[in-house]
Assembly symmetry: C2
Homo-oligomer: 436 residues x 2
Amino acid sequence: MQKADYIIRGDYVLPMDENQTVIKDGAVVVQGNKIADTGSFDEISKKYFSEKIVGGKNRAVLPGLINTHTHAAMVYFRGMADDLPLKEWLEEHIWPAESRWLSPEFVSDATELACLEMLKAGITTYNDMYFFEDASGRAAKKIGMRAVLGAGIVDFQTIAGKGAEDYLSKAERFIKDWKNDELIVPCIAPHSAYACGPETLKKVKELADKYNVPIHIHLSEAQWEVDDIEKKYGKRPAEYLHDLGFLDEKIVAVHCVWLNDKEIELLARHNVGVSHCIESNLKLSSGIAPVPQMLKSGIKVTFGTDGAASNNDLNILSEMSTAAKAHKAISNDPTVLDAKTALLMATRWSAEVLGLGNVTGSLEKGKAADCVILNLDKPHLTPLYDIYSHIVYSAMASDVETVFVNGKLVLDEGRLCTADEEAIISKAREWRKKIK
Amino acid sequence: MQKADYIIRGDYVLPMDENQTVIKDGAVVVQGNKIADTGSFDEISKKYFSEKIVGGKNRAVLPGLINTHTHAAMVYFRGMADDLPLKEWLEEHIWPAESRWLSPEFVSDATELACLEMLKAGITTYNDMYFFEDASGRAAKKIGMRAVLGAGIVDFQTIAGKGAEDYLSKAERFIKDWKNDELIVPCIAPHSAYACGPETLKKVKELADKYNVPIHIHLSEAQWEVDDIEKKYGKRPAEYLHDLGFLDEKIVAVHCVWLNDKEIELLARHNVGVSHCIESNLKLSSGIAPVPQMLKSGIKVTFGTDGAASNNDLNILSEMSTAAKAHKAISNDPTVLDAKTALLMATRWSAEVLGLGNVTGSLEKGKAADCVILNLDKPHLTPLYDIYSHIVYSAMASDVETVFVNGKLVLDEGRLCTADEEAIISKAREWRKKIK
C-alpha cells in the first residue's frame, strides 16, 4: 500500500484520455503535484491509502477546465459599458479607462479577482494577453492558478510601453524571468496583424522560436479587420500571416471568425490552435466562427471567455453550452458540436494548443493534478442519464465544489484556500469607486 | 407606523415599473400576500416597522422572473437524449418515454423537481403545457409557485386522452376546478396548428372565450411546420390562425421562429403575446426567431425555457443572456436587445402576456409580493457599474438567495421552505432508475 496525498473520488471520473473513458465510482490519486494513478475506487483502494479522501457520492471528477483566451485584468471593467457599437464601446469606454487606470497594481489586484472567479468556475489554466504581465504572474501564483501569460505587443505607444521595440524587449525580459516557473508559462502576445506590422511580427516569431514559447494573437475577429489587411497587404489575414512564415503549432489564434476555406486549410496544415470566444463574438456582433468546418479540417478548436468587459464573465462551462447550441443553429444540424466534443475541446485539446499537452488537460498518470470536483446533488442536475450532457448543458459554476491545481487544494467546498475572498472583492470595490 | 410582514431591502430595488426606476438602498413592504409600498429604505422606515427585514447590503431586489413556456414535468427526461436530429430525438426517445411513463404520479413528482429548480433560479411564475395538469397544479401549489397551467389538446390518442373531444372536455373540467385558485391560472393548450385541426382550434377558442382563460400554443417552431400548414391550408401558420379568428390578446404563441413580415404584423395587430425559447431553438436547430423585428412591431416578446429535455435547464437568467447575445450577432447590431429590455421582457411584459398584468411582473403597490433577492456579493458580480448588465449578463441562478411568492417566503438563503429538497431529488433518482 502506498500513501497518497489525496484520493479524489467520484461517481463519475472523466479522465479525458484518448478514448474518453468514463470511470464509474472512480478515483484519482494525487502524490505531490502529480497524478499517480486513476481507476475504479475499488482498485485504487487496494493500492493506496490516504488521510484525505475528497469527493465521493454524487460527485463528478474531471480535469480542470482551460480558458484559452482572456484579458484577465479587464475584469475590473466588467459591465462598465454594454449594448454599444464596438467602436463606441472601445474608443469611448474601454481605451480611456485603460489609459487612465492601467498599472502593475491595477493588473495585480484585478488578476486576483479574475483568478478567483475562474477557479470558482472550475478553470485551472488560462491563457492571457495583456500588459504588466509580471504583476499578473505574481497574482496568479498567489491564487494558485496555472497560466500562460502573453506579454502584449503593439506598434504604438500605450500606458505600458513606447512602441514595438520597447514591448519586444520587455517581452524578452519577461520570458527570461518566468521561463522555468512551475505554474506560469511566459508567452508573447502580438495583439493582431492590424496592430503589429510585418517587421514586428517577424521579431515576435524570432523571439518565440528562440525561447520556444507560445504566441497568442487575435485573428480575424471582425469583418473590418479582414478588409483592412486585404487593403494593406493584398491578402486575407491568415494568408498574410502564412506568407510571413508566422504560422506553426506554437500559435494560438483567437476568434478566427472571418476565415475562408483556404485560410482554414492553412491553419490546419500548420497545426495552429484556435481559441473560440462565442459569447464575446455574439455580444459584440463580431460574427460566428466556422467552428464545425475548422473541426472537420482537423484544427484543434478550444474555448476562450475573452475579457469580462465584453462577455461579461469568465466561465468556460457557459462557453461550452453557448457554443454547442449556437453552432447547431447556425449549421442547421443538431448533431454538431456534441457534449463529448465540447468537453474535449475545453480540456485535453486546450492543453495541447497551449503547449501543455504533457502537463495538464487530462487526468492521466504523470500529469499535474489539475482537477475539478462537481457536485451533482442539485435539482438542475437531476435526474442524470449522461454525464457529458450534464456538464455541458446543465452544470453551472456554482456546482464546482473543489479544485486542485498542481496537486494543491485551491478551492475547498467552493471557498478559496489561498487568499481572502472578501479582501479580493473589497479591493475591487475600492477600485470601482475610483474608476467611475 | 404600520406593521409589515416583511420589509425586503436591497442596495438596488428594481420595481420594473413603467419608467424602469432603480431605487438605491430601497425597500419593498409586504403585508399579507401583497406589496403595500416601495421606496427608499429611509422613507419606508419612517412609515413601517417589521420583525422581518430581509436582504440588505450587496443585495438587489427584483420582481420574480417569469418563464412563459415550459413542459415542467419533462424535467425527468433532462439529458436523456441530446445532439440528435429532432425527428430521432422525438420519435425514438421522447415520445416512447412519454407513452411508457406519463401518469398523474409522474407529473406530480416531476413538477415538484421543476418548481424547485425554477424557484432556485428566481422564477416565481411559469406557463406550462402538458397533460395531467391537475397533478401539476397540486405540485406547484405545494411548492408555492404561481403557474398558468395549460391542459394539452391534440387530435390524436395519447396516454392522457382519446382524441380532441376527450381532451377538450378534460380541459373544461380542469378550468372549472381551478378557475378561482389564488396561485394557479387554468389555461387551454392546443399543441399547435399541425397537431390540432381547425375544428378543434375553433372549440378551443370558444372554451377560452367562455371562461376567459389564456390559450398556450406552439407556433412556427420549425420550417417543416410552415411547409405542412401551407400545403394543407394554402397559408402560413399565423395567417391561417388569423383567418380562423383565433388571434387575440389571450394567445401566448410559443417559438414564432418562422414568421414573415405579414405574420408579424398580424400578431402585433391582435396583441398576441410571444414566448421566445432561444436556448431550445438553438439546441434543436429550429432556427432563430425574428425578435428585434417583433419588438419593433410592438409585440410583447417574453422568454421561455421550453422543457428541460430540450434545453437542458429551467433558467430565465441564462435565457436572457443567451437571447441578448444571439440577437446582437444575428442582427449584426450590438445595441439590439439591451439588458434593460431583456429584464422588462422577463418580468412585466411576461405577466401582461399571461393575463397577470394586475397580479405580478413588477414590484408595485397592490400587486402580489412575488419577489427575488439576488446576492451581489460574488466575484463574478464584482465590480458593479450597472445593475441591469449584471443581472442579464453575469448573474447565475446560484445568486438567487431569497424568493417570495404571493407574500410567502418560499426560498430562504437558497433553501426551499415549503418541502424537503432531498426528498424531491431522491424521488427523481428513483424514477430515473425505472426509466432507463
